[in-house]
């Protein structure tokens, strides 16, 4: 009998231990998903912060540039013909090349190499007539080879870089003429069809503008609405209706807001398509309930004694609210707002619907210029087939995550630094 009891107890304790392990495994799984995820993004993306250059020599020959003037002006340099000079700069890498091969050589640098040759001369007009070294942006494929992202030992047919290009690459690499530097242009240049030239400047500005527009629209309305509902609204059916409305709105899928933006903002109000203005308004409708809920919670957290003290001193209801309750609730409201904006920042689907997915190769200067946003840029790039875009996407994700982490940190700091603890 005693033995039976002991067995039972043992069984029950084993079950207890098992159950604890299930919990630990579940948490471990969740955490390892996060770890795998971060590892994947970082290991794929860090190389995008390096840019590969090919160093060669360019001879700014006056004859080839078709410059006649003895001391050419800026305009002459601007209008000169750089085609031959640039072409020679590349083909001089291999003097014994055939016509088929020179095309392959040219393909090793970005298609904008002519502009790069031109820009160098415009910056240093005294190079005219001289032979000077020049850095040219390597093409996407060479870039990937240099970073070791392309397998080299597969058959030539399946490779984007053929044997001849690899041979030239190896020669240059041995000479130290392949440079790898920090990729500034990733942050300063707009989107491009070519992976080696594409940057996040346009989508970054698009994001900044949309978030500012979103803040400008949602914050005032949400705070005012929260003040009304928390401090002034009578307890009746209509107030209940507004509250139910807000709670449901918070759970509406984001894509429905995209449809709203498309059906109302674009079709009825005729606002300009593809712009951060429309994107920001659409996002603001989405963040509205989030901010209202946060603001109401922090208004509720202000103790009644504050209100009573103000009222006892003869302040009106409105004065009590505006001078005491609202300022005291601001830290909570602000941190809720930042979190709401961080959510809006990562939204993609509604922005795609209002056309912010268009290819934009200029940096927008105002909220009414067409633009993409960082998450949309991730979508656009991940739809491209080229290998070079994979690392760009990962790098773009890293920038986006950094942005989000900063915003959440800011929310934490605002909350902990400025919020009064009532006890």
């Amino acid at each position: 009998m005693n033995n039976f009891k002991q067995n039972l107890l043992k069984k029950r304790y084993n079950a207890e231990r098992r159950f604890q392990w299930y919990g630990k495994i579940a948490i471990g799984l969740a955490l390892s998903f996060l770890a795998v995820f971060m590892f994947q993004i970082f290991s794929k993306g860090y190389s995008a912060f390096q840019k590969t250059w090919i160093v060669t020599e360019v001879h700014y020959d006056k004859e080839l540039l078709l410059i006649d003037a003895e001391s050419p002006s800026k305009d002459d340099l601007e209008n000169a013909d750089y085609y031959d000079v640039a072409y020679k700069a590349m083909t001089s890498l291999d003097p014994r090349l055939t016509e088929e091969e020179d095309r392959q050589l040219i393909q090793m640098v970005s298609y904008k190499y002519e502009t790069e040759v031109k820009d160098l001369l415009l910056k240093n007009p005294d190079y005219l007539g001289k032979i000077v070294p020049i850095k040219l942006t390597a093409s996407d494929d060479v870039d990937q080879v240099h970073k070791g992202n392309y397998p080299r030992d597969i058959p030539e047919k399946n490779r984007r870089v053929n044997d001849y290009q690899l041979q030239i690459y190896d020669m240059l690499n041995e000479r130290g003429d392949i440079l790898s530097e920090f990729n500034i242009s990733f942050f300063t240049s707009p989107d491009s069809r070519e992976a080696e030239l594409a940057g996040i400047a346009s989508s970054f500005m698009g994001t900044v503008f949309s978030i500012l527009v979103c803040l400008a629209f949602s914050f005032p309305v949400a705070v005012l609405a929260a003040i009304y509902l928390e401090e002034f609204a009578p307890k009746n059916k209509f107030t209940d209706f507004i509250e139910v409305n807000i709670n449901n709105l918070a759970a509406v899928p984001s894509i429905v807001f995209g449809l709203l933006g498309l059906g109302v903002l674009l079709a009825v109000f005729n606002l300009p398509r593809s712009t951060p203005l429309v994107g920001g308004i659409t996002l603001s409708l989405m963040t509205l309930p989030t901010i209202i809920i946060a603001a109401r919670a922090s208004l509720k957290a202000v103790p009644p004694s504050i209100r009573e003290a103000a009222l006892a001193m003869g302040a009106s209801n409105m004065q009590t609210t505006m001078h005491h309750t609202v300022p005291l609730s601001m830290p909570g409201t602000l941190s809720g707002t930042i979190i709401g904006l961080a959510q809006a920042l990562g939204e993609t689907a509604p922005l795609i619907l209002i056309g912010m997915v268009a290819f934009v190769n200029t940096i927008p200067g105002t909220p009414v210029d067409p633009a993409a946003s960082l998450p949309v840029q991730i979508y656009i790039w991940s739809e491209s087939a080229e290998r070079g875009f994979v690392e760009k996407v990962s790098a773009c994700i890293m920038v986006l995550l950094a942005f989000l982490i900063l915003m959440n940190l800011a929310a934490q700091i605002v909350r902990h630094k400025f919020e009064k603890k009532w006890s």
Partner: protein
Amino acid sequence: MNLILVTFIVLLAFTSYYFGRKKALVIQSSQRLTALPKFYGYYLAAWCAAPALIIFILWSVFEPSIVKTFILQDYTDQNLTKNELQLIYTKVKALALGNYTGNITNFLDASADKYIQLKGIANSAKVAIILAILIFSLSYAYRSVQKNDRMREPVEIFLKWVLFVASLGAVLVTIGIIFSLLFEAIRFFQAVKFFDFIFGTHWYPAKTFVRDGQPDPELMKDAFGAVPLFAGTFFIAFIAMCVAIPIGLLSGIYLSEYAGRGVRKYAKPIIEILAGIPTVVYGFFAALTVGPFVKEIGNAMGLEVSAESALAAGAVMGVMIIPFISSLSDDVITAVPQNLRDGSYAMGATKSETVKKVIFPAALPGIVGSILLAVSRAVGETMIVVMASGLAANLTMNPLESTSTITAQIVVILIGDQQFGDPKTQSAFALGISLFIVTLFLNVIALSVVKRYREKYE
């Protein structure tokens, strides 16, 4: 023009604020003030800005449609359809603004002249009316300032109205959603039968695209059957739940019942990071890493796996949803009163027996509520599906094949340039309204379940 007008109104409001305050100080020398001086300023400023801005907004909303009616009056005798009239109006507007490139008929030219003329009249009328209103309301307000009427109460009542109007914003958004969806969806159901939509088993809207002309009604009948999308949506949500419920629930239980303070303090926010990662990032992850991974494993086991399998999308979506379930169930379990636990321990139960037999049943309604919220989240999730699970709507229950969802199809249809008035575009809105109804339904149930649960223990 509009910008100048608004700036003028705002500047005038600011000046009248200072003017009102100064006036109050003058009054102070002879009589007792009824409120603080700044309320005199607020009073004047509110009377200055509010009526003028309200009229301005109403005018801007209604002016275009009134001008349009005037222009299209000339075309009423030509028996044109609504779409043709719309086209003519667009042409007239483009011509008037000087960026029209088609060939110009006399009729269009006349209309464009009329458009410019009407716009001019409307503009000057607007300025005149707003100036008149400004003068009228300011002089009215100034008179009551001079009479030294009560100043604080009207200002506060005005403020209260401003607050009330702001709180209507949320209602307005809901109305906007319902109207914009319904409007297009109704037009869609004029072209496609309602029952063909909800019971049809073929979704292939690209089939209806016919250049210059009406699509064949027979084709329309078979192209917009949404059953594959509904099935795909719930199928992927189901896969997501298979991942998220066990992991989320167990980690929620562990965090609330077992974990020490240190573990809880760090593990909970770290798990919640999973919910903060943008969905497009998950989509990229699913498409680039998980999809090929699943395919490789499947191929190694001799199965035929699509690179864009429902399994990959669903699993990644499940990971995204874990924190929703774990946090919500953590909250719900923590809310179970301590005396239930104490009673169970007093009877000699172990901790896990208490959790399984006492706490879990007590917290069940709340947990169900949180799961329903998570399902609604999964149903509305877009980017993961767009990027990781195919775009062709297959009616399948095989997790290794690709399926499509409501949200993914909305994106596919509306990406790029849309033509309003095309049944394909309208079908996106019909899908949108079904999505809205499903998620609304789930949310209402979930919120009421959670609410009842809270009331029970508070």
